[in-house]
C-alpha cells in the first residue's frame, strides 16, 4: 500500500519536474524584450502589449537607457524578439548598441522598431543597416487630402487607405479599414530585393517639416513615402521599422476615422499591428523543410548512385506554422531543379502522396555530380533553400544496346570478310595449276 502511494507521488513529482521544461520548450520562440521611451509608454500602448501577451509572448519591459539591459547571457541570446518603442533615444543603456542589435538579427532575432518625428542616432544607424533611411529630424508625413480632422491643423495626422499596404495577407492580414498615422517618413531603396514597403502614404502624401516653408523637393513624395518598412534578412530574420510610435498607441487603435464623406469608420491600426507583429516575430509565414526523399521510380529508398536516362522521383515535406502548429504546406508553384552547374531539369512539384509534394522526371543523358535544388522565395514567407547531392553514372559496358538494327550491314561485312578469307585460303592452297601442266 505504501509502495503504491510512493509510486504515485514519484509520478506526480516527475510530471511537476518535466512540466516546466515542456512549457519552456513551447515558449522557446516567444521571449520579447520591450525597450520603452519612458514608463508611460506602457500605459499608452496597453492594448498592444495585452494583444501580444494574449498571443503567447512573454514581455520584459525596460526603459531604453536602463544600464541593466543585456542581450546575451553566457554567450547565448536571452530574447527572441526585441521591440523598440523609444524614438528619441540617443544611446541604449547597458551593453546594447546598434552593432549589438544587428548581431542579434544576424543570429536570427527579430526586431520591431518605431521612429518618430525626432529620431535618435542609434535608431538611424539601425535603420541604415537594415536598408532604410529615416527622414530628417522635425519632418512629418503630411497629406493635405487625407488627414484626420483631430490634428493640430498641420495635416500631419494622415489617413492611409488599406490598399496602400503591401500585397500579402501573411504580412498585413486581411483588414480593409483605413489606417491612422502620425510620424516621420522612411526612404527605401527600390533595388534592394530584401526590403518591402509595408505601408506607404497615398499619392498626395509627402514628408517635410510642417512649420518650415518648402524650399526644395521633399525627400519622399506620394507612394514612395514609406510609413512602415520591413526587411526579411537572408537568414530569415525579420525587421519591421515604423516611422510612428503613435501608430501602435491605444488612442489610434480606438480612434474613428473620417474618410471624407462624413462617415466615421474605426481605424484598422489594431488589425495591422497584430498581423504585423505576428509576422515579424515568426508566428506567421514561416516554412520549414521536414524531409526530402528521392529514389528511382518504383523503389522506396535512395540508391547509392543513379544511371543516365533513369526515371527519378523526388518528394519534399514542407510545413507551415499556422496558429502555432506546423501543418503541411501545399504550394502549386514550388519547383525542383536538377543542377550540374547549370540546371538540366526544372520541374514544378505537385501534391503527391499524403502530405508531401514531389515530381517525377527523367535524368538527362549526361553523367556527372548533380544536386536536387529547391529554392522557394515568396513575399511574406521565409525562404526555403535545400540541395541534395547525388552522382549520376554513365552506362556500364554491359548496359548498352546489344544488337543495333541499323548496324546489321557492318556486322554482315565483318563476318563476310572472315568467311571470304576462309574460302580464299582453301582455293589458294588447293587450286590446280593448269599453266604448269601446259608448259609440261
Amino acid at each position: 500500500c505504501l509502495i503504491h502511494f510512493y509510486k504515485r507521488k514519484m509520478r506526480v513529482l516527475a510530471l511537476l519536474f518535466l512540466a516546466p521544461l515542456f512549457l519552456g520548450a513551447c515558449l522557446a520562440q516567444k521571449k520579447v524584450l520591450v525597450l520603452l521611451e519612458n514608463v508611460a509608454v506602457k500605459e499608452t500602448h496597453s492594448l498592444y502589449f495585452s494583444m501580444l501577451q494574449r498571443n503567447g509572448f512573454t514581455l520584459t519591459y525596460k526603459v531604453a537607457d536602463d544600464p541593466s539591459i543585456t542581450l546575451k547571457k553566457y554567450g547565448e541570446h536571452i530574447y527572441d524578439n526585441i521591440i523598440v518603442f523609444a524614438p528619441t533615444v540617443e544611446e541604449f543603456g547597458g551593453s546594447l548598441s546598434a552593432e549589438a542589435m544587428m548581431d542579434f538579427v544576424d543570429n536570427g532575432g527579430n526586431l520591431l522598431v518605431t521612429a518618430g518625428s525626432v529620431t535618435g542616432d542609434v535608431l538611424r544607424e539601425i535603420a541604415s543597416e537594415s536598408g532604410f533611411e529615416v527622414d530628417e529630424d522635425g519632418t512629418y508625413v503630411i497629406d493635405h487630402h487625407n488627414f484626420d480632422t483631430k490634428d493640430g491643423g498641420y495635416h500631419t495626422r494622415v489617413i492611409s487607405d488599406a490598399q496602400n499596404m503591401v500585397k500579402s495577407d501573411l504580412i498585413v492580414g486581411t483588414g480593409k479599414l483605413p489606417l491612422l498615422y502620425e510620424g516621420t517618413g522612411l526612404l527605401t531603396d527600390p533595388s534592394n530585393p530584401l526590403v518591402m514597403d509595408i505601408l506607404t502614404g497615398s499619392s498626395t502624401a509627402y514628408t517635410h517639416n510642417p512649420s518650415l516653408p518648402i524650399k526644395e523637393y521633399p525627400h519622399t513624395v506620394g507612394k514612395a513615402t514609406v510609413m512602415i518598412a520591413g526587411l526579411q534578412a537572408r537568414n530569415n530574420a525579420r525587421i519591421v521599422f515604423s516611422g510612428s510610435l503613435e501608430f501602435f498607441s491605444d488612442e489610434f487603435f480606438q480612434a474613428e476615422v473620417d474618410t471624407g464623406n462624413g462617415k466615421l469608420v474605426p481605424s484598422g491600426n489594431f488589425e495591422l499591428a497584430e498581423a504585423l507583429s505576428l509576422w515579424c516575430f515568426k508566428e506567421r509565414g514561416v516554412l520549414r523543410v521536414d524531409g526530402i526523399q528521392h529514389s528511382r521510380v518504383g523503389e522506396g529508398s535512395a540508391p547509392e548512385f543513379y544511371t543516365i536516362r533513369e526515371m527519378v522521383q523526388f518528394y519534399i515535406d514542407v510545413k507551415e506554422k499556422v496558429n502555432g502548429e506546423w501543418v503541411p504546406f501545399k504550394p502549386t508553384d514550388m519547383q525542383l531543379e536538377f543542377v550540374r552547374i547549370d540546371p538540366f531539369v526544372r520541374s514544378t512539384m505537385h501534391v503527391a502522396k499524403s502530405e508531401l509534394i514531389g515530381t517525377t522526371f527523367k535524368i538527362p543523358d549526361v553523367y556527372g555530380v548533380y544536386q536536387f535544388k529547391v529554392n522557394y522565395q515568396r513575399l511574406g514567407l521565409t525562404r526555403i533553400s535545400t540541395s541534395t547531392q547525388v552522382s549520376v553514372r554513365p552506362l556500364r559496358h554491359n548496359q548498352y544496346e546489344r544488337f543495333i538494327v541499323s548496324a546489321y550491314p557492318y556486322y554482315a561485312s565483318a563476318f563476310s570478310m572472315m568467311f571470304g578469307v576462309f574460302v580464299f585460303a582453301f582455293v589458294f592452297l588447293y587450286h590446280s595449276d593448269e599453266t604448269k601442266k601446259k608448259t609440261e
Binding site: 548496324a407 570478310m417 585460303a425 587450286h431
Partner: protein
C-alpha cells in the same frame, strides 16, 4: 586520236593480264575485288544512314581495308617476279604470315564491333 590510244592501251593491258598472269595471282585479284566492293558498299551505306553506331561502322570498314592490305601484301610475296626481293622467305611462309595477321585482325574487329 588520244581516245583510240587509251583504248589500245587498255586492251593491251587486259590481254597481257589474262595471258601472262599466273593463276594464283588471279585468284588473289578476285578476292581483292570482292573486298573492295564490300568496303565501298559499307561506306556508301554510312554516308546515307549516318554514323550512329560509329564503332560498328569503323569496325566493319577497317576490317575490309585491312583485309585488302593483307591481300596485297600476300600478292607481292607470292608473285614469282618478286622472288629476288624476298630471298630468305618462301611463299608458304608468306601465306602463313597472312593467315596469322588475319586471325589477329578478326579478333580485334569482333571486339570492337560490339
Amino acid at each position: 586520236m588520244s581516245t583510240s590510244s587509251v583504248k589500245t592501251v587498255v586492251n593491251k593491258f587486259l590481254d597481257e593480264y589474262t595471258n601472262n598472269t599466273p593463276k594464283k595471282l588471279k585468284i588473289i585479284d578476285a578476292y581483292l575485288t570482292y573486298i573492295f566492293i564490300t568496303g565501298v558498299i559499307q561506306f556508301v551505306y554510312c554516308c546515307l544512314v549516318g554514323t550512329f553506331p560509329f564503332n560498328a561502322f569503323l569496325s566493319g570498314f577497317i576490317s575490309c581495308v585491312a583485309s585488302f592490305i593483307l591481300g596485297v601484301c600476300l600478292r607481292l610475296q607470292v608473285n614469282p617476279a618478286n622472288k629476288s626481293e624476298f630471298s630468305g622467305i618462301s611463299p608458304e611462309r608468306g601465306f602463313a604470315d597472312f593467315i596469322f595477321a588475319h586471325v589477329i585482325l578478326h579478333l580485334i574487329v569482333v571486339n570492337f564491333l560490339g
